[in-house]
């Protein structure tokens, strides 16, 4: 199966990464702000938000390829199953760490949401 790609220029990548960190627990300066009392949850929120962001990107790419007829039925089944299980696992881990599903849904500001 071919790999998924996302086209963003360097400025776009830097801005998306900064927004992503900002939404996932980092400050405006891009530095992580971790509270000693909640460090485990803060790190879990950051890591899981990034994982969910990447999962959504791959899902969008998979849908585009499926609609373009670029995937075989076997590939569609494997990709769909992988994305579905990955999503369920991320939600499960989020629940274990007390992270709300809303915290995993990133809004990249000027870049919008993944649609």
């Amino acid at each position: 199966m071919s790999s998924a790609t996302l086209e963003l220029d360097a400025e776009g990548c830097a801005e998306a990464a900064r927004k992503l960190l900002s939404q996932a627990g980092a400050g405006r300066d891009g530095r992580l702000k971790l509270d000693p009392d909640t460090v485990e949850q803060d790190l879990a929120r950051l890591v899981l938000a990034i994982l969910e962001f990447l999962r959504q990107l791959m899902e969008l790419q998979a849908i585009r390829r499926m609609e373009a007829g670029a995937l075989t039925p076997d590939e569609e089944e494997r990709v769909g199953l992988t994305l579905m299980r990955a999503g369920a696992k991320i939600q499960e881990l989020a629940a274990q760490f007390g992270v709300s599903p809303d915290d995993l849904d990133l809004n990249l500001g000027p870049f919008g949401r993944i649609e």
Partner: protein, 226 residues
Amino acid sequence: MSEFLGFTDRPPGAALRARHGLAPSVLVGGMAAVRLVRSLGAQEERVDLIAALRRDEPRLVPLSRAALSEAHIVAIMRRNSARIAADLARLTGLIEVVVTLTYPRPTLKREASGGIRYLADRADERRSARALSQRAFDHLAALAAAAQGAHGQQIVPFLAGADLALLVEEARVGGLRAELARHARQLIPGGGGARCAVTGPFPPFSFVTPLDQEEEITDVVRNAGA
């Protein structure tokens, strides 16, 4: 490194430079490119600074993409002088307000339905959300057009991705926001956690005419410097 923020049809005055830390501008013909010497950390800072500049200098259109060298901005201005002049005439005194509708993400379907079914369901959900957005934005566009006729407001709608951008006169923003907020409640079918947010005012980024062959110009400048 310097960064160019936009164009104006005359050099910015000394007071403007003092207030916002701008460097002398690059002039081509009767047009100036507004340059900032420090580098900006985030898109929000760029938007805020351009908005502040436009309050002092209404005849300023923002540059839609970054130009980081003098050679690059000169090439852009020479290639696009007519478009930039037209934008200066069209966008002076107007700002952008953005209406964004967000719908709650559907809960993930579990394994039982299989991978193909999962992808098909997700594709259907995206199509439904797009259709809902389109209907809502059609309504908003009609509302904007009606407001234009009734009050002499200049409101130009533009569907940009998932958002509706409205080009409006700065003095009308308050009333428009209130009107949009009233109608927003009618735009969200059945509630269900959907939200309608009105943000702005912003510089009119969505309404700036795309510059001609900017990628090609970038390549020319890069090759010339190599």
